[in-house]
Amino acid sequence: MIADHDVIVLGAGLAGMRAALEAARLGADVAIVTKVHPIRSHSSAAQGGINAAIGENDSWESHAFDTVKGSDYLADQDAVEVMCREAPQDIIEFEHMGVIFYRNDDGKLGTRAFGGASQARTYFVGDITGQALLVTLYDQILKAGVKVYEEWFATKLYMDEGACRGAVALEMVTGELHLLRAKAVIVASGGLGRLYEPSTNALICTGDGYSLAYRAGAPLMDMAMVQYHPTTLAGSGFLMTEAARGEGAYLLNSLGERFMKKYAPTKMELAARDVTSRAEATEIAEGRGIDGNVLLDLRHLGPDVILKKLPQIHEMALDYLDIDMIKEPVPVRPGMHYQMGGVRTDVEGATAIAGLYAAGEVACVSVHGGNRLGANSLLDTIIFGRRSGRASAGYAKGTLPSSGGEELLRSEQQRLEGLLARPYTGETCAGLRLELATMMDAKVGLYRSDAGLHEALEALRGFRKRYENVAVGDKSRIFNQALTFVLELGYLLDCGEAIIRDALVRKESRGAHTHIDYPERNDRDWLKHTVLTLRRDGEEPEISHVPVTITRWQPEVRTY
């Protein structure tokens, strides 16, 4: 089938649906393409809240400064300014849509404290903020009657004369491949957590959008910046929201000390995530951990706060560790959580490719720089989702309808059939993914070194070779997940290579990129973004640098 729209959005999380809603409001014929039902999107797993300077004593400047400092000065300050200025109105808009935000005694929106913030400006719904926003937004999509291609898996972007003009997608339920032509395409497909093991991310976070856009020619920026969240559950690696510490929980080592006093004497447990994760890793490495974990202690908060404000993590610790956090501390450790880098965009979500936009985790505007502050990611999705929706609708108005593409549809069909026809050689998709993800965690994780990164790149080359031999262990057409897993592994390999190459060139330590051979931040040489552009498949990407936009905050020594 070939279908035509003004705008198609790949991904139905908060960024994607917000973009689609905005484009629809502006009169564009918009369709969402998503490999899972919108409600299953990983935005639902965001727990703690969403930041905005709404309070009388708060200001967008304060929010922006905290964000810039949190980013270790790698964020573009004009982009941060846009996000922080527009945050209050966008959050109020979600309140008007029906989100049941927590209120103060006077009935106005109430806040909780969060890491790296100079004051409490995180708005929330219990510890299910992402879910509350996602469901509300999905219902707005239903109300607006936006077309959703549900359980359609994007395999390739359609490029025509240098512009992005649609995408090819596999309809899971029938196994048919379709061409969706559009005047503009917004990539909002979320993160790449499956590249790391363990990770807080869902099984669906496989970096699809990074790879699709990169292979279409869009540059990736600052891919080395991979965030490790300080509190992920021992064993499973599930997220224990930062809101726990926002509400006052302690981090303890095996001696029962609040060790953060050594690393962040002012902010203590509410230092930025990179700082806190490294502090935990140091405690564990120096023998003050407990089976490779530290303890998250909520007992002093009391059952009322835990059950009313943090019910979900209370339930998760009970379900997966048999630990009741009202009575016992919970073992946690740093775990891969978020990709700050991504498809390079401007503040309108536009990439370097005409007709191609990106928003949300997959994009790099850059508002997070080297390290994202907690509760800024939900904000990023709704602000830049809306902006890319608006920009793409505007672009579509002045653009002729997309045409052609039958050739691409045929070649994609052949490619998938080729995959299905591969003989079984003993190489499994799951086994290769696990090796890749374990390697990434070990060599391109919280700490990096020149030697480790070179080994990682070598290992990745090996994985790429072996990937050519991965068979699709299912020959059916209907709901062939074995086929999509193999495609996803291909996306992950592209993402892994981008991260390693970016990390290899950045000879300093900044934000989430901690390089043990270059332990200091080096503003003289490295106050700049790294940009990767694909030249031709199989060749090394072109690596270039662009300056960080600095408007009012000069880099300073970063302490919490």
């Binding site: 039902h37 990983h42 109105q89 029906g98 239903l142 499973s236 799951a430 997940q481």
Partner: protein, 336 residues
């Protein structure tokens, strides 16, 4: 620890692929599903593993042709609701050890939903109902200016967090007794969502919503089997929300329906004689002047009479019925 999983397979294509070579990770015949059958797998997992861990282990290392929806693995995304030992549950929240019966765990797509493939069912009936209750805020006017929120007490928001906690997994609908026999029934999830908006002080259509929900297929079609309360993995307790809606609908004056008449007749009978008069319950629920409706119940009545199931014609009060009446007086409200 060894666990045995019996998985309900379904594949309309029923195609056999090349079997894996013996000794390789995928045992033959992988992907050899006839249209429908149960297939048994053995997995080695930690003691505290959940059903989803087993399904993922099977899919990754034993049989990649097993189709199953899952994403977050931590009871947030709602993807993996399925039948586990004959009841709807989230696979990621169900401990294998607790669900091992006679040495195995049986997992399958819920029979109440159309099936697509293996453990993947068609959720369309579920989402259709969700849409049918207009699950969005119909804003109370005037909407505050763009820089101002609605001023509402936090208690009013907290009152709704139970329904907002719904992850739309569909477990309640999969096991709903009413939905199983009446596809027009809105079902527990949609009705819980309906309450989420009826109960929202920022919504302008409370009365209209209650009117719509009082129609056939709405709040009165629930038979209180409590399956939804039992199966909901997030404590939404849809039946509780349905009961709240019923009270609100009656209070709002939506009483001209079989549901309210049934409740009234029920209560009136108990108040009058201390027990249920089943002979008058049906006619009163249908509406005494609803001749067509009465005639429709006639075949059932005849069948009941034939089977000797007709209640006694003379209905006696229980001893001490005055005390029951006193309870009604004390409770007050509609039935005093």
């Amino acid at each position: 620890m060894q666990f045995t999983i019996e998985v309900g397979r379904y594949n309309t294509e029923g195609r056999y692929a090349d079997a894996a070579r013996p000794g390789e990770p995928f045992p033959a015949p992988w992907n050899a599903s006839p249209v429908r059958r149960y297939q048994t797998y053995t997995v080695d997992l930690p003691e505290h593993a959940v059903v989803l861990d087993a399904l993922i282990a099977i899919r990754e290392y034993q049989d990649p042709s097993l189709a199953v929806r899952c994403a977050c693995r931590s009871a947030i995304c709602g993807s993996c609701a399925m039948w586990i030992n004959g009841h709807a549950n989230l696979a990621c929240k169900s401990k294998l050890a607790a669900f091992t019966k006679d040495g195995k765990t049986r997992v399958e797509s819920p029979p109440s939903m159309p099936i697509i493939r293996d453990l993947v069912c068609d959720m369309k009936p579920f989402w259709d109902k969700h849409l049918a209750v207009r699950p969005w805020l119909e804003n109370k006017q005037p909407v505050p200016p763009p820089n101002q929120e609605y001023r509402v007490p936090n208690a009013a928001m907290e009152e709704l967090i139970q329904e907002v906690s719904c992850i739309s997994c569909g477990a309640c609908v999969m096991d709903c007794e009413s939905f199983a026999v009446n596809p027009d029934f809105l079902g527990p999830q949609a009705l819980a969502q309906a309450y989420r908006y009826v109960g929202d002080p920022r919504d302008a259509q409370t009365k209209e919503r209650l009117g719509e929900l009082s129609k056939e297929g709405g709040i009165w079609d629930c038979t209180h089997c409590f399956e939804c309360v039992q199966q909901c993995p997030k404590g939404v307790a849809p039946l509780d929300q349905i009961l709240k809606l019923r009270k609100m609908a009656v209070d709002a004056g939506y009483t001209h329906n079989a549901g309210t008449r049934h409740a009234d007749a029920f209560a009136e009978s108990v108040r009058h004689s201390g027990r249920l008069n089943e002979l008058t319950l049906m006619p009163k629920s249908t509406g005494l002047f609803n001749i067509v409706g009465q005639l429709k119940t006639l075949p059932s009545a005849i069948n009941m009479a034939r089977a000797g199931k007709l209640p006694p014609l003379i209905h006696k009060s229980i001893p001490g019925v005055e005390r029951i009446r006193k309870i009604f007086e004390r409770v007050g409200g509609r039935f005093k």
